[in-house]
Amino acid sequence: MKDTQLQPRQFGQPMIRFFDVTKQFGAKTAVNQLNLEVKAGELFAFLGPNGAGKTTSIKMICGLLRPTSGQVEIGGHPAGSQESRSCLAYVPDQPFLYDKLTGREFLHFVTQMRGMDKTHAEKKIAEMVGLFEIEGFLDELCEGYSQGMKQRLVFASALVHEPTVLVVDEPFVGLDPRSARIVKQMFVDQARRGVAVLMSIHLLSIAESLADRIGIIHQGKMIATGTLQELREKEAFGGSLEDLFLELTGGEDLINPSDKSPDAAEEEGLP
């Protein structure tokens, strides 16, 4: 088994890789020949309209779906293999917790399942409890938690084993502004520590402010990838990420004309 703990020198090493991945559900193509790389230390924002193929792609990363063709690798291992799961942390949009466990018991369960040494596990649990400010309700049964409390505990459980790949689907659902700020900062910290972070998100302002690179998927195809600057240059677009997103995904009619680049506006005969 390959070493899943990244050293600083391994920054830039591809951790999530899609090679010509296609996923079909019957006659419907959910993901169409997707090629993608997310490197260690990179925070990648995965954008796309509803039904574009984001969640399908994420499920293939986690080994919950198999590609119809192509291959997905995590840390050099086929997605779904035990090695890939050992280095992966996944936070779905609807977090799963055991109703009849307390938060603390859930964290203990996760560290035990991950084979962590007891002392190290206790230290990491304490660290996560402090980071996500969950001490106040940690000894209550999870069935009484609000959506935000659940989300914070799920983040703590995802990071407690120091993953090298973090995949999150709509991470800010149900979080209050303070928690959202903590999570945003956590994403940046994780990436700076060498973790490959892939987040699927609809809040374009957060993608704009946090992501190192952005990928826009539409109707199963990756239609644009790069830094925000690269995307703007490539599309000759001077507006916000939101306008760029609408431009690329067929919502041009919703864009304020003044946001378009002068060249594009001139081509369309706009003043």
Partner: protein, 573 residues
């Protein structure tokens, strides 16, 4: 790999903590529920024990040979085997391919066979509990009737537990294979298996009741045993169980233990095979099952919609639309209507052929008895139907409360809408069945009328109990209706429904029975009372019985509905 052993230990820790926390929470916040559940189990156990003890002691008076007990137990355990195999398969399939826990565990380090083992232990825990509750009173009663030794009683529990593992392992393997081979058609497979089982059971029952010869004569017994010979096939686990039970009960310890070990080793093998299947196929099967997507266009149901609007024209339009919604949900879930259709269909087939099943129907007392048995079976089936499908409706509706609250209907109207839906469906199905039965039995018009009134009372009462208690004891956390029905509220609903049936049917059935027994025999004891009844007196007592039933019906409609309305009006979502 270190995570393999640690994941097994962690999953054991998980089950242990969940169990302890559930019990502690129940003790702290739901002591009444705990005691009611324990009391119900105790009543059930004692009832089963009493029934079977009486039965075995009666059978013992014929000085039956061990061979006949082996036939009886062979049949009993074969039935249990099939039920356990199918139910464990369904539980495992749902848990592995449609459960959120499995979906989460699949992203974690435990190997697929560990995940399977975790879910298997859970499902076997449920099944084992059920088998212990059902099987232990039967086996204890048998042990007492044949004066079995201590070794027999000590072996009962391990024997039943070992037995559960065998159909459980087989059912689990089949469940994973179904997920692997036909991930898009699990319900079709279930429907086909159900149909095959029902046809086989129907055919078997038909053969049994058509056994030639007069009942309980030696010739009849020979013929009957000949028709049960398949239960003694040496490769059937039910035969091993029968051998173990009979051997141990008669102090043939060596023979009994041998079959116990045969069962235990085969159960271990079945578990091993299931684990291997899970190791090899579970992830692929899981991915295929996740890939399942229902893109089938649903047929428009204008005809049905129109029918509902016409039948319920006395209700407001929004309530009619809610009933249309319930009817569509009902029809689009084959798990609901298929069970309803199968059991009511079987009853209809039986009622239509009732005269072929028995030669004693010329006797008024038998005819009366059979008519009330048919009515009771229909009512019991209806009670399970309302507990399983109608009771969870308000809980499920609570999940969409935000939408319902915005509709131009009062909450009470929603409740009455559910009641109307349930009562109309029940009335149509049950009254039709009852008419078939009564006409086939050639009952007098007055009795047919009384039965029709009684069934109407039962349909309205059961519907109101399920709708009212469903609103009074909702479970908004659970999205699975079967789990809502199996919870405290659902169990209480079933118990109340059964009590209601006992009183309403008993009040009418008793005067009928006393009168007809008197006509038939004019015998001694309490029968003498009935033999002195004139038809007028019978009519008077029947009137009293019907009055009690109707009164109970009114109480059973008003009280639960009022409770439900009050709870619903005060409910904060």
């Amino acid at each position: 790999m270190k995570t393999d052993t640690s994941s097994a230990a962690s999953l054991a820790y998980l089950r242990n903590r969940v169990f302890k926390n559930t019990i502690a929470d129940l003790w702290k916040n739901g002591r009444l529920r705990l005691f009611v559940a324990l009391f119900c189990c105790m009543v059930f156990w004692v009832g089963m024990f009493g029934l079977f003890l009486g039965g075995f002691e009666f059978v013992e008076t014929f000085k039956l040979t061990d061979e006949i007990y082996e036939y009886l137990f062979g049949l009993f355990f074969l039935t249990l085997f099939v039920m356990l195999g199918v139910s464990t398969g369904i539980i495992i399939y749902a848990g592995l391919f449609h459960g959120r826990e499995a979906s989460w565990l699949m992203t974690q380090p435990p190997r697929e066979d560990r995940i399977f083992a975790h879910k298997f232990v859970e499902s076997i825990g449920f099944a084992g509990w059920g088998v212990l509750l059902l099987g232990s009173p039967v086996l204890v009663a048998y042990g007492i009737s044949v004066k079995a030794g201590l070794a027999y009683y000590l072996t009962i529990v391990p024997l039943l537990i070992a037995f559960v593992g065998l159909p459980g392992g087989l059912g689990a393997s089949v469940a994973i294979l179904i997920g692997y081979i036909v991930p898009r058609r699990p319900k079709t497979i279930l429907a086909v298996v159900s149909c095959i089982l029902i046809i086989l059971i129907g055919r078997f029952t038909w053969n049994l009741v058509r056994t030639p010869g007069d009942a309980l004569t030696p010739d009849w017994m020979d013929n009957l045993l000949g028709r049960l010979a398949f239960t003694r096939h040496p490769l059937l686990p039910s035969r091993w169980m029968a051998q173990a039970v009979v051997g141990l009960s008669h102090n043939r310890i060596g023979n009994g233990l041998f079959y116990f070990l045969v069962i235990a080793s085969n159960a271990a093998m079945a578990y091993l095979v299931a684990t291997w299947v899970a190791f090899r196929l579970l992830r692929e099967a899981f991915c295929r099952a996740q890939g399942e997507r229902s893109s089938r266009k649903r047929r428009q149901t204008h005809g049905l919609d129109q029918l509902i609007h016409t039948v319920f024209s006395f209700l407001s339009r929004p309530v009619q639309l809610l009933i249309v919604k319930d009817a569509r949900c009902f029809l689009r879930d084959p798990a609901q209507w298929s069970q309803f259709l199968i059991f009511f269909g079987l009853l209809a087939a039986y009622f239509m052929n009732i005269r072929k099943f028995s030669t004693n129907l010329e006797s008024p007392v038998w005819r009366n008895l059979v008519s009330y048995l048919n009515l009771s079976v229909t009512a019991l089936l209806l009670a399970t139907f309302t507990s399983r499908f109608i009771f969870p409706m308000m809980s499920l509706e609570g999940r969409n409360a935000w939408m319902l609250n915005l509709l131009p209907v009062r909450r009470s109207q929603i409740l009455w809408g559910k009641f109307a839906f349930s009562a109309s469906l029940s009335l149509f199905a049950s009254e039709s069945l009852l008419m078939i039965s009564d006409i086939q039995l050639r009952l007098e018009p007055i009795l047919i009328t009384v039965h029709a009134i009684l069934m109407a009372v039962i349909c309205l009462g059961l519907s109101a109990i399920s709708v009212g208690l469903g609103a009074r004891l909702p479970n908004y956390r659970e999205s699975d209706p079967s789990k809502i029905a199996a919870g405290f509220g659902g169990t209480l609903n079933l118990v109340v429904s059964l009590l209601f049936l006992m009183i309403t049917i008993g009040a009418v059935a008793l005067p009928c029975h006393l009168y007809f027994v008197g006509i038939d025999t004019g015998g001694a004891g309490f029968q003498r009372i009935s033999s002195t009844w004139t038809f007028d007196q019978f009519q008077r007592w029947l009137g009293v019985g019907v009055g009690i039933s109707v009164f109970m019906g009114i109480v059973s409609v008003l009280v639960p509905i009022r409770m439900g309305l009050s709870a619903l009006e005060n409910q904060e979502f």
